[in-house]
Amino acid sequence: MNEFAHLLDRLAYEPRRNAKLRLLQDYFTHAPDPERGYALAAMTGGLTFREAKPAMIRGLVEARIDPVLFGLSHNYVGDLAETTALIWPAPHPISSNDGGLSESGRQRGSPLLKGEGQGEVRGSSGEVTHLTPTLSFQEREPLAVAPIGHNNPPPHVPTLAEVVETLGTVKKADLPARIADWLDALDETGRWALLKLITGALRVGVSARLAKTAIAALGGHEADAVEEVWHGLEPPYATLFAWVEGRAERPTTLNPAPFRPPMLSHPIDEAGDFEKLDPAAFSGEWKWDGIRVQLVGGRDADGAQVARIYSRTGEDISGAFPDLAEAITFSGAIDGELLILREQRVQSFNVLQQRLNRKAVTPKLLEEFPAHVRAYDLMQAEGEDLRPLPFTERRARLEAFVAALDHARIDLSPLVPFATWEDLAVARADPAAVGAGADADAIEGIMLKARDSAYLPGRPKGPWWKWKREPFRVDTVMMYAQRGHGKRSSFYSDYTFGVWRAREDGSPELVPVGKAYHGFTDAELQKLDRYVRNNTTKRFGPVREVAYGLDHGLVLEIAFEGVQRSTRHKSGVAMRFPRVARIRWDKPAAEADRIEALETILARGISEIAPGETLKEAGA
């Protein structure tokens, strides 16, 4: 447990991905089974056990520490697990800086320990409470040599495996005592990690994907190789480690509906890529603005149908979309885009987001936000892995598959025919005119897939390209700047920008409409940073207000993907994916755009259908 805790501690302070990977690999190489397997499960959300309630932890501490002091400390530190870890009476004497002087001093004085072995303590109300005498430091310190006649065995430092297995089996009434024993035995970092783990709040800046990447690298594999077998495995993943270490065969997945890593595309560079590519070698189709999913169906050992919906990252989201899961009556794996359809019309991402934001899946939600999948590809059918086939063959199989399925929730993503890149540019500029019709607003751009491309997991360069629609653009004025994080931690790199609107008296004012923190080069960042420092008018902690107004201010041209209503912003609108497209050092602030520019775009996006309403102007 202490080794795992040490890892978490270092990960928590490490901002860089590669350094995190190095730490993870180092740990997975050296930690024994099943310890490392449970560590992997802890980081990938694969552990299920009875979580300890904060009130119980608090109770344990307050039996040992003056509740007033604990309360003040908790207020100060702001985190229950950390406060408890720091304040828990140390099982070992804290090695002292002042040459052993404090050894006896701390023991005698140890102002934290109630009782201090005297067996009683006077509470603040004056009554004398009897407590079990706690072990003295001298008895606790030497783990190896227990004093003769010792009644209490030396504290046993639990392994992570022991903690996980115990939590899975322990009776509720016994839980507090077990946790207290562990806290006594662990060091400070160990206590912190244990408490984070058992309260279900283990957030250490490591994604499941990163942990899997580290595991895969042990055997020289890509993370996707681990993803492929992942859903058939259980903690502590002994077969997985055996495989990546070359001690055993690749684990066979017994999961009848496993996740398969999706194939991703690269953005196309209009300036250079098209001239190198042959239009005849590619197939075009719409890129829908929903969430990429896999619908996977299969039969388990008993012949029962298993239906799974996975997100792009392999998260099982079947529970959130029971309406769609019902449609998985087949045996196969469809790659597609999850969208909300009303009256056969694809709704914008705004509408989908309203469903994604709800925690509870209610009948009303299912009715108002019916989930559909627009199928892009067929990865597997009736036990046959189709991924090695060329795209055109897979597409033919997909068309037949969807047709045979004949389910209202699943349809085909139509192809976009073209002969030249110019044809394709026309389609991209106006999808509605090229067959997308009323769904055009839900189209993000165009996908190009090499006709002979196999389905390869990850993001191979060459076979698949995405060509997004032109972003919207608006000229804004920088209003506030905030320092960035990580590599940019000292630079003012996050900019809040505004556009003009009329006050009640008609005079113009700037109103913030968004925040952008990328889109510029490092050299531009240095210039922007200098601009912020030289034009600061006010400071609010990490935020600086810069000079802005009709006569001064820096114009930032912002590119973005869309506008939605927002109650959080004073302006009432929020942008999707805003980024700095150009820095307009030359443009006067007074000539920046007005709020109406955004409201027009917003009005376009609102061509959505209200729940339950029929499409009145169908085809209009």
């Binding site: 007033v68 800086n97 701390r106 004085g109």
Partner: protein
């Protein structure tokens, strides 16, 4: 009514005042006569009339404020009783920074000890704290919460050296307060066997020079040359805390951001400052030492100047010791922090 501690020391706008001696202790405003416990800027200010302090503190003040920081000065030798008006004062080491002292003030059989800032932990750059028995002990409470139990500084310095060994290509930028903490870190590094140059931000140069003149060996401590920053692979660089997040520090090769402070006990504090390698090294007493010190002075009453006074006052109550917070303004509102005198874009 008999003579009591509150006759000996009162509170004025400028801070603690001794009417019988006609002097203030660590006043936050200019006064005619001041006794100064130590050289940190929130305790030692410029512009007083007469100043009484240890020789080291007077020299620190001269370095910080210039030779004419007061009208006249007098050196207080440690341990020697000095008569001022109707009281006797005696300076005793406080173990906080070079020259830091507690001031015992006595009259009519009542003794009050103003401890200033103090610590009990090991520090090779100053004399260790001396327990002075007293009736009223005036204590700080910067780290006055039981979550503050400081680890062994040698282990913290080891963490830094381990990181340097692990990342020999990266510069290690260690934020440390310019007076005391920086020199303590240097001395601890030397004791741990580190003999390469320790690079300094310009803001630490003068005080470090003074420490060396006072006979504290700190080895080779060159000032960072701005143009050379990119070449300092694997170097340890000390700078004021405000500079660790500054553009200044980004010019070093792939810098590891570190900070030597008691605040590093709390993860959120480290993360807020973007610290990757927190070093828990404090120049203030941690909770066990605050409690131990109060007990050892035998004081029947404790006044708490600044910091987390609520918890310490509460604890005194549970021990049957009278205690009250003084709510003194102007002392280290941010605990260990130095005033923002160090300009952001310094050097």
């Amino acid at each position: 009514m008999s003579f009591s501690a509150s006759d000996l020391l009162t509170l004025t706008r400028e801070g603690l005042y001794c009417p019988l001696g006609g002097f203030h202790v660590d006043p936050t405003w200019p006064v005619p006569r001041a006794l100064i416990t130590h050289g940190h800027a929130d305790h030692a200010r410029a512009g007083h009339g007469r100043v009484l302090a240890t020789g080291e503190t007077l020299r620190i003040m001269a370095v910080r404020y210039g030779a004419d920081f007061c009208e006249s000065r007098q050196e207080a030798p440690l341990g020697q009783e000095i008569r001022i008006g109707d009281v006797t004062v005696r300076f005793a080491p406080a173990g906080h920074v070079l020259g830091s002292a507690q001031i015992a003030i006595q009259a009519q059989g009542v003794r009050v000890v103003v401890s200033g800032d103090y610590k009990r932990a090991y520090d090779p750059t100053c004399l260790p704290f001396e327990v002075v028995p007293c009736d009223v002990f005036i204590t700080e409470a910067t780290f006055g919460l039981p979550v503050f139990r400081m680890p062994d500084t040698r282990d913290e310095v080891r963490k830094l050296l381990d990181s340097v060994a692990l990342f020999p290509e990266r510069a290690h930028i260690v934020g440390a307060y310019a007076l005391g903490k920086a020199q303590r870190v240097m001395a601890l590094l030397r004791e741990a066997g580190y003999d390469r140059p320790i690079y300094l931000h310009g803001a630490m140069e003068k005080l470090t020079e003074l420490y060396k003149q006072e006979g504290i060996p700190l080895g080779e401590t060159p000032k960072v040359v701005a143009a050379e920053r990119a070449k300092l692979h694997g170097a340890i660089v000390l700078c004021p805390p405000s500079s660790i997040q500054d553009v200044w520090s980004r010019k070093f090769p792939d810098p590891v951001t570190s900070f030597a402070s008691g605040w590093m006990r709390v993860r959120a504090r480290a993360r807020q400052k973007g610290v990757e390698l927190p070093l828990c090294i404090s120049d203030h007493s941690d909770w066990p030492d605050l409690c131990r010190t109060i007990r050892e002075t035998g004081a029947g009453e404790v006044w708490v100047t600044h910091g987390q006074e609520d918890a310490l006052v509460h604890w005194c109550g549970t021990q049957g010791i009278k205690a009250k917070p003084l709510h003194l303004l102007g002392y280290g509102d941010d605990g260990e922090s130095e005033p923002a005198a160090v300009a952001e874009e310094a050097a």
